[in-house]
Symmetry: C2
């Protein structure tokens, strides 16, 4: 199953969610591929990997993934890494009118080998993001519980509708995942209310609390599940993994 | 003085800083123009303005700003608003190889009318961001105090160097502004340390604390300075304004 982890609003825990959900799933012996399509390469960096070139750019340009393109982090967790060169690849894709099916085509060469392919998306609504929506089966939307995040949700849903109508009718929203949630704020509940009533989207019952360990983990090149296994964020992500498995059975 | 408010890492308080610094400066009777170059239009939305089209896209396509393009919020605070159409404009600019001087050229038609022009940049390193760096006199970098933000700083400084060497030798970094700072975290001090030692950048003495009022303000279409004048974030931004004025005299 191909899952874009998507939100064009910046800093909403997409990368942190991609890493920790992937880690949680791999610990349950699900075969997981992580695809880093953010030219800033936070996912690649946060997993302690330094690529010599943007493998993502290369596999999208050629529309196939070969064995040597895949970084094996462990038996159940694989990665297609990127560097900042991906900016140049995206620039060329746009200039030369490449189709929006690059990610779908590239992933089709390996999708039988994995239970889940998680795509870490950049904070933008542009070319690569649309590509991810076209390739995806169901989108996971990590979101902060504030006003501008709600704005971002609205814009994202417009893109989902556009892709469903024109390219990928089977695409659906798996759910919204609350991240960096401060349960004491009234604003949190107001936003949750609006998501349910105005957009009718599923919201994960589990959410990820604001916890400094999650912010520290990238400097150790590890998921917070590995870096600080008893921390709130690690426990939250394990619970999110359990719920994710239940709703994607 | 043209000030790009820039950080390609997502969710680092760029828009919140653009609004509140602009508001603080206008309260000191400085003439300020805000330019929204983020196709998500958070700045435009957070100021309670709904544009019928992306004025930003239009003025960049024509490379001039006319009187009717400017939204007068009050006597000292003006805005060039955008809508999500800006995505389409940027797409065309790239496809048709427009030059990187669009923002510089457009702003040259009005820069004599303002003390400060603040440019709210999107979380990306792409076409419009490079444009903003080429147009800018000095960049202000709002940053969270965590590991991935440090990664973002490194990439941003590469862009600044590239622009200085090839287009705009006068460009400099005004300073890094800590936002959503949690003073209790050890991580905060570790990051501040790294910024000073590894990059030798100035850091504002004042920083903006994490405060829910700042997250609530956009739904009222106001700066947090107006929405919650006695809140920590309002006071922090007024102090930041005072420091900004001192260093840009
Ligand atoms: N639960 C959490 N508690 C505290 N900090 C967190 C948590 N989750 C993520 N962070 C930190 O917040 C910042 C933003 O998170 P992250 O980079 O995962 O978001 P993103 O949506 O991928 O951002 P971008 O839009 O830039 O790609 C990062 O520095 C990250 O380490
Ligand atoms: N001092 C603060 N305390 C609490 N929340 C804040 C503060 N400053 C900003 N926020 C909230 O954090 C979120 C991110 O801030 P903001 O949108 O200003 O960042 P940005 O860098 O412009 O994001 P993007 O990269 O998406 O453009 C917003 O919902 C905003 O309302
Ligand atoms: Mg990310
Ligand atoms: Mg913004």
């Amino acid at each position: 199953m191909i899952i874009p982890i998507i939100n064009q609003k910046g800093g909403t825990g997409k990368t942190t969610t991609a890493i920790n959900l992937a880690k949680g799933l791999s610990m349950q012996k699900k075969k997981v591929l992580l695809l880093d399509i953010d030219s800033q390469g936070n996912l690649t960096f946060s997993l302690g990997h330094k690529a010599s070139e943007s493998i993502t750019g290369k596999v999208l340009a050629t529309r196939k993934i070969e064995k040597e393109d895949i970084v094996v982090l462990d038996k159940y967790l694989h990665l297609i890494p990127t560097t900042t060169d991906l900016v140049n690849y995206e620039f060329e894709f746009i200039k030369q009118s490449y189709p929006y099916s690059l990610i779908k085509d590239a992933l089709s060469t390996v999708k039988e080998d994995y239970d889940y392919i998680l795509i870490d998306c950049p904070p933008s609504g542009s070319f690569l993001t649309i590509n991810a929506l076209i390739a995806g089966d169901a989108v996971l939307i990590p979101m902060q519980m504030d006003v501008l995040s709600l704005q971002g949700l609205e814009q994202l849903l417009d893109s989902v509708v556009m892709v469903k109508e024109n390219y990928n009718p089977e695409l659906y929203v798996l759910g919204v995942l609350g991240v960096m949630v401060d349960g004491r704020r009234q604003l949190t509940n107001q936003i949750l209310e609006r998501i349910r009533e105005e957009y009718g989207l599923s919201i994960f019952n589990n959410f990820v609390r604001n916890n400094v360990r999650a912010a520290e983990a990238p400097s150790f090149g590890k998921s917070v599940i590995e870096y600080a296994p008893t921390s709130n964020s690690a426990i939250d992500y394990l619970n999110v993994t359990k719920e994710f498995l239940a709703i994607t059975k």
